[in-house]
């Protein structure tokens, strides 16, 4: 067991080093100069002398491998470095943003999972009925709507027309509701379709036909179907969690939610390499850990050897 865990940790470290090297290399190759971005961020021109001095100060004149090596050794020591954009330490920035995004992402995920699970079960139980058709239409429409459009529509109706919420949200529970809804609505549509397909696939198996033939109650059959589908559902959750952690930038910007997605988008624009690299390390670790957990859970739930 210990050997297995160590092997997984070692794999994780190797993947992270490879990932960080490629991201560092891509940023090095891509056009854009952090010093120039910083000095001209308000559209004011600078002289070459000033630009060179800033490049020197930020360490941008050093060779690629030296820069990558310095960054890697800093990370090993737990030092994420200083932001190119504003000279602030990177770690507190990332951790603060990560915490905020985690609240938003996990709340949205919970809302989406519960809602879509109920709808998917109902849809399967009443296959081809009115409820199933309504749910299918809802899942199709909500899955098709982009986040930003849902956000603006929600703001318009709930903040302006119904005056239920302020447009300028604070970082409290009330401020969380609209961004959660904006993230959840398309996700619910996506989850319903995936869960419904998985449940229906499971329903078509022989053991379900056997249970039906023996007169087993529908509720018990559904319980078994759901239990046998959990592995797939965990995979969906794992993938979606990673996506949410890094991909809610539009919602964060519109609702002024200072999460990590918005921080990283601003950092990419500013070529703030220390923040981008810190993000890659943290998100890479989160992705890999979540996927490892999903792997373990899937295996525990369905211990049949993979064919």
């Amino acid at each position: 067991m210990i050997k297995k865990v160590l092997k997984r940790i070692l794999t994780l470290v190797v993947i992270l080093v490879i990932l960080s090297f490629f991201v560092f290399a891509l940023m090095y190759i891509a056009p854009g100069d952090p010093a120039e971005k910083r000095l001209t961020s308000q559209g004011v021109a600078v002289t070459k002398k000033v630009l060179d001095a800033e490049r020197e100060r930020l360490g941008l004149m050093k060779p690629f491998l030296v820069r990558y090596g310095e960054w890697l050794f800093s990370i090993i020591r737990g030092d994420f470095g200083i932001s190119f954009k504003d000279d602030m330490p990177v770690a507190p920035k990332l951790l603060q943003g990560l915490g905020r995004t985690a609240v938003l992402a996990l709340t949205s995920l919970a809302v989406s999972l519960i809602t879509s699970f109920l709808f998917a079960v109902a849809s399967v139980l009443k296959k081809d009925g009115i409820a199933d058709r309504i749910i299918k239409v809802f899942s199709f429409v909500s899955n098709s709507l982009p986040n930003f459009l849902i956000s603006v529509l929600l703001m318009y109706f709930l903040c302006i027309k119904l005056k239920l919420f302020p447009v300028i949200a604070k970082g409290d529970l009330k401020g969380l509701l609209l961004p959660v809804l904006s993230l959840s609505i398309p996700m619910i549509g996506r989850f319903i379709r995936q869960m419904r397909a998985e449940f229906l696939s499971e329903m078509s198996k022989d053991y379900v036909a056997g249970m039906r033939g023996r007169g087993v109650k529908t509720g018990y059959i559904m319980f078994n179907v759901i239990r046998n589908s959990l592995g797939h559902i965990f995979t969906i959750i794992a993938l979606q969690t990673g996506t949410l952690m890094g991909g809610s930038v539009v919602i964060e910007t519109i609702f002024r939610w200072p999460g990590i997605g918005k921080l990283v988008m601003d950092s990419i624009t500013a070529r703030d390499y220390p923040v981008i690299m810190g993000f890659v390390v943290i998100m890479g670790t989160i992705y890999l850990i979540i996927n490892q957990i999903a792997d373990v859970l899937s295996h525990r739930l369905d211990p049949r050897p993979e064919s």
């Binding site: 002289t47 709808f119 009115i130 409820a131 703001m155 903040c159 447009v167 809804l181």
Partner: protein, 535 residues
């Protein structure tokens, strides 16, 4: 029966989830109106709900708090670092020795005068100048501030080369080494705002400055709240405070304005302008030509004289400005035409003449309607980046050129400075920058027209121009500066090396009754001051 009940319940759940699942929260219904100050509710009856006499009576007793949206926010408000001074200036917290006025002149602020005698400037401070903690602003503190700005801000590192001497409590001399005509303008830069360097304990979060407001709360990269500086040296401050909400997106700003949660903001989009213009009783929109210039480089290394001339005769700046519906004004040169150094001329749009110029140079219309020469089609490469409406500008220019028979290919880059401006890989390269930093035309001329400058990317090189730039650098007489500037810009225009498309308007929307949000000053770095008020 079970089926029907189930279907009904399911449909109800679906309907509730679709509209938001939150209509049952009664306390939320009171939140949005709470955020609107009673003073503002007078101009927005639907917010107050009961805009009656009793609510009107409470207006005068309530503190006057202005609520504004800010498009940028940073991790620090250390006045001297980066561009943070722009924001402390907008928040009404910091002041520089001079302040740019609506005529693009450096007007007295903390200093009452600056006089140059050759390379030595004598600066006299205002008598009452003091920080919010009551400490008087002294000449010694000014020198310390300038020294610190030179140390912490690369763009002001040149100040370290100047020899600054404290003459007395209120007088400083600055020996600039060489003649430096624009020092007064430089001293109006918000990054050179004055801080009490001994009284400030937290430069990043709570600098002690001289402005009419002091920081109440500062969220790094978030909202900022200021309150009236009770010790303001410049007299009575009309507002009790202000809140600046960090809002990057345009739609939420419009919605927040409509819901009464903010009172004003800058950089209004054309879509929002259309909404505000329908309700002039509620909203006042002020639009003035700003200092941010949309222009294009014409590459002299890849385009011959006739093609460059034809392009400039074709590009219709008025049509572009009209299309961008109020967000830009058609430019003539790089500077505001109302400034003394903005008096240049360009030939009127004349597509027939553009064709004549091309045909005189040997171009003939091809079978597809586009000009060609020696069997080679005239196709130009237009490079742009998708910001400051340059993407729209690129498409409009492409369409206008197509109408006269010049084919073009659009190429978009994310970072112009590191791509087409750096390697010269363009025929027509679009760019946007602040042309007039602080009433100082030399800055743009030195950055763009001078041989070997940062934006020397299109092969423009003129001996007469270089000579005039050399003269301008050392010129201190205002009238002569304007004259030399106009002469230099005219050479660049006549050479068809550039096309100055538009000056971004500084467009501000204010709720009715709100005044003094620097809406009449073309610079981006001013906001509230002692005179800002909510009626």
């Amino acid at each position: 029966m079970k089926k029907k009940i189930f279907t009904a319940v399911l449909t109800a759940i679906l309907a509730v989830s679709t509209v938001g699942c939150t209509t049952s929260a009664p306390d939320q219904g009171t939140t949005a109106p709470e955020t609107t100050q009673p003073a503002q509710a007078q101009t927005q009856p639907e917010d107050g709900g009961n805009a009656d006499t009793s609510s009107a009576e409470t207006v005068s007793s309530e503190p006057k708090i202005l609520k504004a949206a800010a498009s940028f926010a940073y991790g620090s408000i250390d006045v001297h670092k980066e561009y943070y001074g722009w924001y402390t200036s907008i928040y009404g917290v910091s002041e520089a020795l001079f302040k740019m006025d609506e005529n693009m002149s450096a007007a007295p602020c903390l200093a009452k005068d600056a006089v140059a005698d050759g390379r030595v400037w004598t600066i006299t401070l205002n008598d009452g100048g003091a920080f919010s903690n009551g400490t008087a602003l002294t000449a010694d503190m000014v020198v310390k501030n300038l020294d610190r700005a030179a140390q912490v801000n690369e763009r002001f590192a040149y100040l370290a080369d100047f020899d600054m001497t404290v003459i007395d409590e209120k007088t400083i001399t600055i020996d600039t080494g060489d003649v430096y005509p624009t020092l007064k303008n430089d001293l109006a830069s918000p990054e050179l705002g004055m801080m009490d360097l001994e009284g400030t304990t937290d430069f990043d979060n709570a600098p002690v400055c001289t402005g009419p407001f002091v920081i109440k709360s500062f969220q790094p990269e978030g909202d900022v709240e200021v309150v009236k500086n009770e010790n303001y040296w410049g007299g009575n401050v009309k507002l009790d405070g202000a809140i600046f909400y960090y809002m990057q997106e345009d739609d939420p700003k419009l919605l927040a304005m409509q819901s009464g949660e903010i009172d004003c903001y800058n950089s209004v989009t054309s879509a929002a302008l259309a909404v505000y213009s329908q309700d002039p009783d509620q909203y006042r929109v002020v639009s003035i030509p700003g200092a941010r210039l949309q222009f294009y480089f014409l590459n002299e290394k890849t385009l011959d004289d006739a093609v460059r001339e034809a392009i400039n005769l074709t590009v219709d700046k008025d049509a572009i400005a009209a299309y961008l519906s109020g967000t830009v004004s058609a430019a003539v040169g790089p500077f505001n035409p109302s400034a003394a150094y903005g008096k240049v001329t360009v030939p009127a749009v004349d597509t027939a003449k553009a064709k004549e110029v091309l045909e005189a140079d040997g171009y003939t219309p091809g079978s597809d309607g586009f000009y060609e020469k020696n069997g080679k089609k005239l196709t130009i490469s237009i490079k742009y980046y998708a910001a400051r409406s340059l993407d729209i500008l690129a498409i409009l220019i492409q369409e206008q050129l197509k109408a006269v028979g010049i084919d073009s290919v659009l190429g978009v880059e994310e970072d112009p400075d590191s791509t087409y401006l750096a390697n010269g890989d363009f025929d027509l390269g679009l760019y946007c920058m602040i042309a007039d930093k602080a009433g100082d035309p030399f800055y743009f001329i030195e950055s763009v027209f001078k041989d070997g400058s940062y934006y020397d990317c299109n092969g423009f090189d003129d001996a007469k121009c270089e000579e005039l730039i050399g003269q301008l650098k050392n010129e201190t007489d205002t009238a002569k500066i304007a004259s030399l500037t106009n002469e230099i810009v005219q050479i660049a225009i006549d050479d068809n090396a550039y096309g100055f498309a538009g000056l971004f308007n500084k467009t501000t929307v204010l709720r009715a009754g709100v005044t003094g949000f620097a809406e009449d000053i073309p610079f981006d770095f001013y906001g509230i001051d002692a005179q800002t008020d909510i009626q």
